[in-house]
C-alpha cells in the first residue's frame, strides 16, 4: 500500500514489519518522530515503548532486551549517540544484536539541529571503546528508511552485532511515497539468549574476559565475523558509472542532490557518474574501485569536513585523485553548486591526474 510518510515514521513502520517489539529512546531533534511513532504503534501491537531517563539508560535497556532475545531498537541524533557509545561497545562486546538509528544533526557539541553527516566516524569507525565494528546502513529516501531498517535487523541478528541506520535530518524529516507490504518475518532462533527458561538457564551474556588469551580469542572471533561481513554485505548504488570520467561519491541526502546533478550533467554530455555507498560499514570498496576504473577524478561530497573521504581514499589506495567538497552546519550543497565543482574537474579543462596521488 502506497502512502505518504515521513522518513522518521517510516523507520518505525519498517521496524515493526521486521518484528521489532521493543523501543527504548530519549527525545532529540531531528529524530524524535521515531520515538513518537514507536510510542503510538508499539503498544497497539503488543510491543514495548519506554521513554528512558537518558540515552545512557535507553541503550542499556536495549542491551537488556537484546540479551533476552527481543528484536529491539533505539534512535537518536549526535549528542544522544555520544551518550550511547559506552552501551554500544558493551552490545558489540557481548555480541548482542540491535538496531540504532542516528538521524544526524550539526555538531560538535550542541551544534545545531540541521542536517549534517558528521557522525560517520562515530558510527563507522566505532565511537565506543575496544575492537569492534558497527554494521552501518545509509538510507537516502523514505522508502529506504523503512527497508534499510528492516535489513538492519536481519544483519544485526545474522552477525550478532549492533547495526546502525545512519540517516540525516533531511531524510528523517522529509515525506515521500512509501510502499510497504506485510509479510511474516523470519526471526532466527537465538539459543544464546537469556530468557528465564530451563533451556536458557546456563546462558551468560557478558563482555568480560579477564584472561588475556580469552579476551584475545574473543576479539579474534569477532574479527572473523567482521571479515565475513566485509565479504558478504557491502551494498551500493551506481548511476551512470560505466563510462564516468568524473566519479562523484556521496551517501544519504547528498547522494540525492548528486543524482540530480549527474542527470543534468549527463543531459549536457558531461561524463559524470554517481557512486552511492548503501553500507558504510562494510564499505563497498571493491565496487568503488571498479566504478572508478575509467575515472580521472573522484569527488567525494559530504555534509562534513571529510569523514567518508578516508574510506574512499583507502578503497582507491592512491590509484585515483580523490578530491573533497563538504558543507557543514546544516548547509546542503545545491545541484548548481555541485555542478560547478564537477565542471572544474572535467579532464579536458584541467590537467590529467590519472595515477597521481593528491
Amino acid at each position: 500500500m502506497r502512502q505518504l510518510c515521513k522518513g522518521n515514521v517510516a523507520v518505525m513502520k519498517g521496524a515493526i514489519l521486521a518484528g521489532c517489539n521493543a523501543y527504548y529512546g530519549y527525545p532529540i531533534t531531528p529524530a524524535s518522530e521515531i520515538a513518537e511513532a514507536a510510542a503510538k504503534f508499539l503498544p497497539q501491537v503488543g510491543g514495548t515503548f519506554i521513554q528512558a531517563e537518558s540515552e545512557v539508560a535507553a541503550i542499556n535497556m536495549v542491551y537488556g532486551a537484546a540479551a533476552a532475545g527481543a528484536r529491539v531498537m533505539t534512535a537518536s541524533s549526535g549528542p544522544g549517540l555520544s551518550l550511547m557509545q559506552e552501551g554500544i561497545s558493551y552490545l558489540a562486546g557481548a555480541e548482542l544484536p540491535c538496531v540504532i538509528v542516528d538521524v544526524m544533526r550539526g555538531g560538535p557539541g550542541l551544534g545545531n539541529i540541521a542536517p549534517e553527516q558528521s557522525d560517520y566516524f562515530a558510527t563507522v569507525k566505532g565511537g565506543g571503546h575496544g575492537n569492534y565494528r558497527n554494521i552501518v546502513l545509509a538510507p537516502a529516501s523514505v522508502q529506504e528508511m523503512a527497508s534499510l531498517t528492516m535489513l538492519a535487523f536481519d544483519l544485526a541478528d545474522k552477525y550478532r552485532n549492533p547495526a546502525v541506520v545512519l540517516a540525516d535530518g533531511f531524510i528523517g524529516q522529509m515525506m515521500e511515497a512509501l510502499d510497504l507490504e506485510y509479510a511474516e518475518c523470519n526471526i532466527p532462533a537465538k539459543p544464546w539468549a537469556v530468557k528465564g527458561t530451563p533451556e536458557t538457564r546456563a546462558n551468560v551474556v557478558s563482555s568480560i574476559y579477564l584472561e588475556s588469551d580469552e579476551l584475545e580469542d574473543h576479539n579474534r572471533q569477532m574479527e572473523a565475523k567482521y571479515i565475513r561481513a566485509q565479504n558478504a554485505e557491502p551494498r551500493c548504488e551506481q548511476y551512470c558509472t560505466d563510462d564516468a570520467e568524473i566519479l562523484v561519491v556521496g551517501y544519504g541526502i547528498v547522494s540525492r542532490v548528486l543524482r540530480s546533478m549527474v542527470e543534468k550533467a549527463r543531459a549536457e554530455g558531461l561524463p559524470v557518474g554517481l557512486f552511492r555507498p548503501i553500507t558504510l560499514w562494510p564499505f563497498p570498496s571493491k565496487a568503488l574501485a571498479k566504478a572508478a576504473a575509467h575515472a580521472t577524478n573522484v569527488l567525494v561530497v559530504e555534509l562534513s569536513n571529510g569523514q567518508m573521504l578516508e574510506d574512499v581514499r583507502l578503497a582507491l589506495i592512491g590509484r585515483k585523485r580523490v578530491d573533497f567538497y563538504g558543507r557543514m552546519g546544516g548547509n546542503v550543497p545545491t545541484v548548481e553548486e555541485l555542478r560547478e565543482q564537477v565542471e572544474a574537474r572535467i579532464p579536458s579543462r584541467t590537467e590529467v591526474f590519472a595515477g597521481e596521488v593528491e
Binding site: 500500500m1 502506497r2 502512502q3 505518504l4 513502520k13 515493526i16 521493543a22 527504548y24 531533534t29 531531528p30 503498544p43 497497539q44 501491537v45 514495548t48 528512558a52 531517563e53 545512557v56 539508560a57 535507553a58 542499556n60 535497556m61 542491551y63 537488556g64 532486551a65 537484546a66 540479551a67 533476552a68 532475545g69 527481543a70 552501551g87 558493551y90 545545531n112 539541529i113 540541521a114 533531511f170 524529516q173 522529509m174 515525506m175 515521500e176 511515497a177 506485510y182 537469556v194 528465564g196 527458561t197 538457564r201 546456563a202 546462558n203 551468560v204 557478558s206 563482555s207 584472561e211 541526502i253 540525492r256 542532490v257 543524482r259 540530480s260 546533478m261 545545491t334 545541484v335 548548481e336
Partner: protein, 495 residues
C-alpha cells in the same frame, strides 16, 4: 544445625549439614590458579551471605528456572560464577536499565538486579530512581558497604562522615563530599515502589531479618506486584582493614545508626491498572491496508512531467499542510513525491517553509534552488524566495499587489489576496486552500475534484469543509481574473 552420624568404618562421629548449599548455586565455582577452593569474595565479605539468602529463597520459591540475574560492575561482577540461573552482566550503574529491558521482554520471569553502592548510588543514580519510579516489576538488592571494594577502597556515596578511604584520606568531610546518601529513604519518596526495606548483615538476628526481606521481595515479584528494593548493609573486612567479626560489629555500631533499619514502603493498595490501548492488527496500525484516500485510480489525465514547489509563510498559515496535501495527492495519483520542511528554530520562530516535488520519474534532490512555483504567503517569504524562481516559473503571492519597492521578478507573478478571500468565506485559515485552488488552476497538476475529495477525507468539521471547498473555487477564479505580471509561459515540466 547438624545431626550426629557415626561412621561405621572409623567409629568417629561425623556431622552432616542440614542446611545444604542451595541448588541455585553451581556445585563448583570453577577458578583458576591456586584459588580453587574459594569464591572470589574475601573472607567475611557480606556478598557471600547475601548470595546465600537469595539462592535459598529462589530455591524455596521454586524460581530457579525462571530467574534472570543481572550482575553489575563492582565486586559482584562475577555473580554469574555462582548463581545457576540465567545471567546477564551489564555496564557500571546500568543494571536497573538493563533489567528493565529484560523484564519488559520477559514479563513473567523473575529479574534480579544486584548492585553495590558505587554502582547504584553513584554512577547509576538516574537508572535506579527511574526504574523505581516506573515501577518496573523487578527486585533490586542493594549491597551497601560504604566503600568501593573492587577498585580498592575509594569513597562511596554511602561512606560515613569521617570515614577514611583512598579518595577521602582525611575522612569524609560533608563540606567537601556531602553526606552519606540514603537510597532506601530516597526511593520510598516515590509512589510506584511496592516494597522498600533496609536490613543489615551484622548478626544472626539481623541476617534472619534480611532473609525474610529477600524472600518477601522475590515473592512480590513472583506475584507481579511491582518494584521491590532491599538495601543490605554489608561488611567489607578487607577494605575496612578489620577482622571479619569486627567488621560485622562495625556494621551494627557505625552503619546502622546512620542507615536505620526499617521497612520504608510496604504498599497494600494495588497499583493502577495497565491501561494499554486496544490491540489491533499490524497492517491497520501501520496503515498498510487502508490509506485515508484509497479512491484514486493512480492515473492522471493531464500531461505532466514534474513540478517543484516552494511554499513559505508564517507558522499557522497552513504552509506545511498545504505542501503535505499536494504530496499526498501526488502519492495517490501514482507520482513520485517529496515534501521537505524547514524544521527546528526557524519553525519555532514563527516562519514555516517547505519544498514539494511532484514527478513522474525518480526524484533526485528534494531541495530545489530553482522552484517552478513559489507560493509566498507573506511579504517576508516573497522577498526571500522570489528571485529563486526562474523565468518560466510563477509566483503566487498572498496580497493585492506587489510591495511598491519590489523589483519585478523574472518569473510570472499572480497577486492573490488569499487571506482576504478566505476571511470573507468565513475562515482566514483557508488562505492556504485558496492558494491551492489557484495553483491547481494555473498548473493543472491535479483535477479540482481530486482536491475536493482529499479535503472531504481530511476535514471532519462540515462547516470548515464547506469553506475549504469554496476556497478552492475562489482560488481558481482569482487566478483566472489575474492580470499577469511578467513574462507569460508555462513552468518547466508541463507539456
Amino acid at each position: 544445625m547438624a545431626t550426629d552420624v557415626k561412621d561405621e568404618r572409623t567409629g568417629f562421629e561425623t556431622y552432616e549439614a542440614v542446611h545444604e548449599k542451595s541448588s541455585v548455586f553451581y556445585d563448583l565455582y570453577e577458578r583458576k590458579s591456586d584459588l580453587k577452593q574459594q569464591t572470589h569474595y574475601c573472607p567475611g565479605c557480606g556478598h557471600g551471605v547475601a548470595h546465600k539468602l537469595i539462592a535459598e529463597a529462589l530455591q524455596d520459591l521454586g524460581l530457579q528456572d525462571r530467574t534472570i540475574f543481572v550482575s553489575p560492575v563492582g565486586c559482584s561482577v562475577f555473580a554469574y560464577y555462582y548463581f545457576d540461573v540465567g545471567n546477564v552482566q551489564v555496564a557500571h550503574g546500568r543494571a536497573p536499565a538493563a533489567a528493565t529491558g529484560i523484564k519488559r521482554a520477559c514479563p513473567d520471569k523473575i529479574v534480579i538486579s544486584y548492585q553495590g553502592d558505587g554502582d547504584l548510588a553513584a554512577i547509576g543514580t538516574a537508572e535506579i530512581v527511574h526504574a523505581a519510579n516506573r515501577g518496573e516489576k523487578i527486585t533490586v538488592f542493594f549491597i551497601n558497604n560504604g566503600i568501593y571494594g573492587m577498585t580498592g577502597g575509594q569513597m562511596a556515596p554511602t561512606t560515613l562522615v569521617g570515614q577514611k578511604s583512598t579518595t577521602s584520606p582525611f575522612g569524609r568531610r560533608p563540606a567537601n563530599e556531602g553526606f552519606p546518601i540514603h537510597m532506601a529513604e530516597l526511593l520510598a519518596t516515590l509512589q510506584a515502589p511496592v516494597y522498600v526495606e533496609r536490613v543489615a548483615l551484622c548478626d544472626n538476628k539481623n541476617i534472619m531479618r534480611a532473609r525474610r526481606a529477600v524472600r518477601k521481595a522475590l515473592e512480590l515479584q513472583r506475584d507481579g506486584a511491582g518494584f521491590s528494593f532491599v538495601e543490605i548493609l554489608s561488611p567489607c573486612p578487607t577494605i575496612w582493614g578489620k577482622e571479619p567479626v569486627a567488621a560485622r560489629s562495625w556494621v551494627l555500631e557505625k552503619m546502622v545508626p546512620e542507615f536505620p533499619l526499617a521497612v520504608f514502603r510496604d504498599r497494600k493498595e494495588p497499583l493502577p491498572a495497565n491501561g494499554a490501548p486496544p490491540q489491533r492488527p499490524v497492517i491497520e496500525v501501520l496503515g498498510i491496508k487502508e490509506a485515508i484516500n484509497n479512491h484514486g485510480n493512480g492515473k492522471r489525465t493531464q500531461p505532466f512531467k514534474g513540478l517543484s514547489i516552494n511554499i513559505a509563510g508564517f507558522g499557522g498559515q497552513g504552509v506545511l499542510l498545504l505542501g503535505q496535501l499536494l504530496a499526498e495527492m501526488g502519492t495517490e495519483q501514482g507520482l513520485e513525491v517529496s515534501w521537505l520542511p524547514s524544521y527546528g528554530p526557524e519553525m519555532r520562530s514563527g516562519s514555516a517553509h517547505c519544498w514539494v516535488i511532484l514527478s513522474k520519474s525518480r526524484i533526485g534532490s528534494p531541495l530545489t534552488a530553482k522552484p517552478d512555483v513559489l507560493i509566498a504567503m507573506n511579504e517576508v517569504s516573497l522577498r526571500k524566495f522570489a528571485s529563486q524562481v526562474p523565468s518560466g516559473g510563477f509566483i503566487l503571492y498572498n496580497g493585492q499587489t506587489l510591495p511598491e519597492d519590489f523589483p519585478m521578478p523574472q518569473a510570472q507573478v499572480y497577486c492573490i489576496p488569499a487571506s482576504e478571500i478566505a476571511d470573507k468565506l468565513g475562515s482566514a485559515k483557508a488562505a492556504n486552500i485558496v492558494m491551492m485552488g489557484a495553483m491547481l488552476e494555473e498548473t493543472g497538476c491535479f483535477e479540482p475534484s481530486t482536491a475536493t475529495r482529499f479535503l472531504e477525507a481530511k476535514v471532519k468539521n462540515p462547516s470548515l469543509l464547506e469553506i475549504d471547498i469554496k476556497a478552492i473555487a475562489a482560488g481558481r477564479e482569482a487566478v483566472d481574473h489575474q492580470v499577469n505580471l511578467g513574462p507569460l509561459s508555462q513552468p518547466d515540466g508541463f507539456a
